[in-house]
Amino acid sequence: MNTELFRRYHDAYENHLKTIALNLQDHILEQISEYPRIDRVTARAKEPRRFIQKAEKNNVEGIKKYTDPLNEIFDQVGARIVTYYLSDVEGIRKLIDKYFKFIESSEREPESDMQFGYFGYHYILFLPDEVIPDNINEKFCPKFFELQIKTLMQHAWSEAQHDLAYKPQASSLSKEQKRKFAFTSAQAWGADKIFDDLAKELDLPSVKQV
């Protein structure tokens, strides 16, 4: 393990990343507060252990994926907006595009149309200046944060999948276990579609009714 990198990131994590994450959570909530079906907004600073794991990853050629991890890993601070229905993701995206600047904006889905797995919308956004405490030198802060927008179903699936599939004993999942994960994803995907159809039929409002 790169102990110097671990020490530097650990210091940043303890000294300001956790505070930035809390401030960011409030900031995002304020910017999207007019949207009616927000289940939750959460933000967290990436734990030092997980940061180092990511920093030391190799690419397919077996070469270190990150040459400058502190400047290249953009999810040191990550946030998630959980909403109710698929069409809400689009509504929330409009607000995000309005109030934030992104350098990456993409729908995450399995590579093949015949597969089921991870679904969600991801952004890499500039970290707003106002969430960085005044006593922190911005030079030591990340410039970006990752934002995920998910439906309740996508959120539930990714939480359970993360909990189960990232356990040490789950390092090599069997075919059957992989199929089970795909099956639960397909169930969540189907539930999302049906809820979204119902939401459209029942003409849910796109702004809060006061």
């Binding site: 040459t67 290249e72 934030f100 990456e104 993409s106 410039k143």
Partner: protein
């Protein structure tokens, strides 16, 4: 040259929108050793490089590509140039500028000044527009005039510059600062080409975010203002804000524009735990501003109060002064749409 400046490249760039620019555009390169310390060019380059932080005050962010991926063509050229500041790498930036410059612009002189700022890389990209000029030579008892067809002026109203400072050539150089003296002009085509087309960027603070921030601060300041004069002052500024629609401003500039008193300004500043927020530049989105702006409310000593959106208050209410003691009569005409009951406090 400035001790932190390593190399300067310069090109004469022509308006060639719709093409790829001149493939073999000739340029020139100056290094520290080439210019004597006291030469005028040396002084110009040093000022260009050293004063960039003072001049370039608008934060810009480079855009993702059209597919939403973290890739930006200008950034790629800039990073290549920083890695290897050759004439060929600089030329690619110059031809990019040619390829987005319309015939409405005169030709310009592009400078790329590359060096260091502490442990970071620093590059200044500046375009001096061409102007006609006259050189006056005062001789013994006579004055001679010489017409100069192309003089490149830094002080001209179409001067543009951008500054990029970052320590990382892999994850950095996604943002910078710019100056564009045409930004507040009505000529959007002319003012957009530098930041939008050439730098493939945008303002880092979105118009909506900045306008909401300003309006919310005015609204909260108005709520805590104990003095009615101060409340009126803030309400008037909010009403007049439409004058700045589409223009670049900041909280401090807004306060200055409408001559807000020290008391009002202090209340507005209280809304920002971070003082640097007061100077953040953004383009005023008037509809977003008005959505969050304070509603103007007039309360009377008899318990009555009237309120309306700030921008229409003076149109929907007629205020008649009845005496010198401040007694007024307020009238409004219209159809009652609803009435609300709420807690008195």
């Amino acid at each position: 040259m400035s001790s932190d400046l390593n190399v300067v490249h310069s090109f004469l760039v022509k308006p060639m929108k719709g093409t790829d620019g001149h493939k073999h555009l000739g340029g020139t390169r100056f290094t520290k050793n080439q210019l004597s310390a006291k030469s005028n060019l040396n002084e110009l380059f040093s000022k260009l490089f050293d004063n960039a932080e003072k001049e370039c005050r608008i934060e810009i962010a480079l855009n993702a590509n059209s597919a939403g991926a973290a890739k930006n063509d200008f950034r790629d050229l800039l990073i290549n140039y920083i890695k290897k500041p050759t004439l060929a790498a600089a030329r690619k930036i110059a031809t990019r500028l040619e390829s987005v410059t319309t015939n409405r612009s005169s030709q310009g002189l592009l400078f790329l000044a590359s060096g260091k700022k502490a442990s970071s890389h620093k590059v200044v990209v500046a375009r001096f527009p061409a102007e006609e000029g006259i050189r006056a030579n005062q001789g013994k008892g006579k004055l001679t005039l010489e017409f100069l067809e192309e003089v490149f002026l830094k002080s001209h109203r179409t001067y543009k510059s951008a500054l990029f400072v970052d320590s990382s050539l892999t994850g950095g150089f996604w943002s910078g600062w710019a100056v564009d003296k045409q930004l507040n002009s009505q000529d959007t085509e002319m003012s957009n080409y530098w930041i939008t087309d050439f730098l493939a960027g945008d303002f880092k603070n979105t118009a909506a975010a900045g306008s909401k921030m300003l309006a919310t601060a005015l609204r909260e300041a108005s709520k805590i203002a104990e003095n009615i004069e101060v409340q009126n002052e803030i309400a008037s500024a909010a009403t007049l804000a439409k004058k700045l629609a589409g223009k670049m401003t900041s909280v401090n500039q807004f306060a200055k524009e409408f001559g807000l008193s020290d008391t009002a300004l202090a209340l507005i500043r209280k809304q920002f735990p971070k003082p640097s927020q007061l100077d953040v530049s953004f383009q005023l989105d008037i509809s977003e501003f008005q959505r969050h702006a304070p509603r103007r409310t007039m309360r009377f000593n008899n318990g009555a109060s009237v309120s309306a959106d700030t921008e229409v208050f003076d149109k929907v209410f007629e205020v008649e002064e009845l005496n010198d003691l401040g007694k007024v009569r307020v009238t409004a005409e219209g159809v009652v749409q609803n009435q609300k009951l709420s807690k008195s406090k």
